[in-house]
Symmetry: C2
Subunit: 224 residues, 2 copies
């Protein structure tokens, strides 16, 4: 059995949980808090970052969410999550890079820092300037997601792909932290409601952190 070392509000862990569930790969969860620099976890991954996935029986350890997804995409049957021709797959990978690097750095990471880490770990007040900048960048990125939703069936192309799972994972973390503003983004809001209604999403929406609670609409598919 695969054991996934994750953190509840780590978007890369969330992406992997959605991906493994959609692929039909069974796994159990072990929660780690990256900022605790726990020795046992650092031995597993010297970079100290989630997610890491381990199969003790096989002696296999995999690190880095994109490397892990590629591994299961190559070795496991089940619906392909990087589907299509080489060109289709390049477009999916382009968008994965954009989500995991650009959207993460501009929107998700500052939200986690200001609305979670400062509150739980360093007990500093949030920096409202950083928060406002992140909301502004987020608004521009939601415009781009609107454009994608408008121009194709799913974010990455004609069929559901890892792009949809990654985007939903990132946005769900921002939403949990109260930083997702869908005003003026009807297209992405509709797409996100569809993603939230998938069975793979349910365990994520049901999970709660200590201290930090999500807004009331967070786990409601229709936002009401």
């Amino acid at each position: 059995m695969w054991r996934l070392f994750h953190f509840p509000l780590c978007p890369f862990s969330r992406k992997l949980r959605l991906f493994l569930t959609e692929k039909g790969v069974p796994f159990e969860l072990e929660r780690v808090s990256p900022w605790e620099r726990n020795d046992e976890f650092l031995e597993l991954n010297p970079a100290g970052q989630t997610p890491v996935i381990v199969d003790k029986a096989r002696g296999t350890k995999l690190i880095d969410s994109r490397a892990i997804c590629a591994y299961f995409e190559e070795t496991v049957d089940g619906p392909p999550m990087i589907p299509g021709t080489a060109i289709d797959r390049a477009e999916i990978r382009r968008l994965l890079g954009w989500l995991d690097e650009k959207l993460y750095a501009d929107l998700v990471a500052p939200m986690i820092e200001e609305r979670m880490r400062k509150r739980l770990v360093s007990r500093e007040p949030p920096d409202t300037r950083v928060y406002r900048e992140a909301m502004k960048a987020g608004n521009a990125h939601l415009d781009y997601l609107d454009y994608l939703v408008d121009s194709r069936r799913w974010l990455g192309g004609p069929v559901l792909s890892l792009v949809d799972l990654a985007a939903a994972a990132h946005l769900s973390v921002v939403d949990y932290l109260g930083g997702l503003d869908f005003r003026g983004h009807k297209e992405t809001k509709t797409w996100y409601a569809v993603m939230k209604s998938r069975p793979s999403f349910r365990p994520l929406l049901a999970e709660r952190m200590e201290v930090i609670m999500p807004p009331a609409h967070y786990d409601k598919v229709d936002f009401d």
Copy 2:
């Protein structure tokens, strides 16, 4: 013919130039300066980042260095650069993520900012504190590269892979900017000399930016 839109000191462009040459894919170069926000280039890639590769005759455009490498790895014959079993490939991808995200953010990006962009574009003085922090992080990362060189034939495993090309691309940019200090890192220094002597590396070492010149040892394989 493929046309690669690149910037001489962009490590992701350099990685791709090494990769395409090692794979035997012919391409021509077109230089762009990402900070100029040139309209024509923004139309090609709204994210405004190099590298982008285009084949006009086929109507193909690819963006994101990892997506582009995966595309050619899937479609072109020539030596595999993500070789081996699914486990071997996961290890290669883990290290690619570490190089392109962690080593880039901690060492390469601050060097480019302090020693190139500020000098060429904003004409500010460099921030010595940022520079010292980058050198310190770089030293720790070189320790990890020493460990990899010590424990396997090439950085990513028993054969040359995209990990070697990516690491050499990143370090070559730092070296051009005078920020590479190999004292105490004999293992990585020896590996880097081998990489510099590969024919694929020659065009990179011969290239010069305007205004900013590399140190005298930069294009010498034996560092003398």
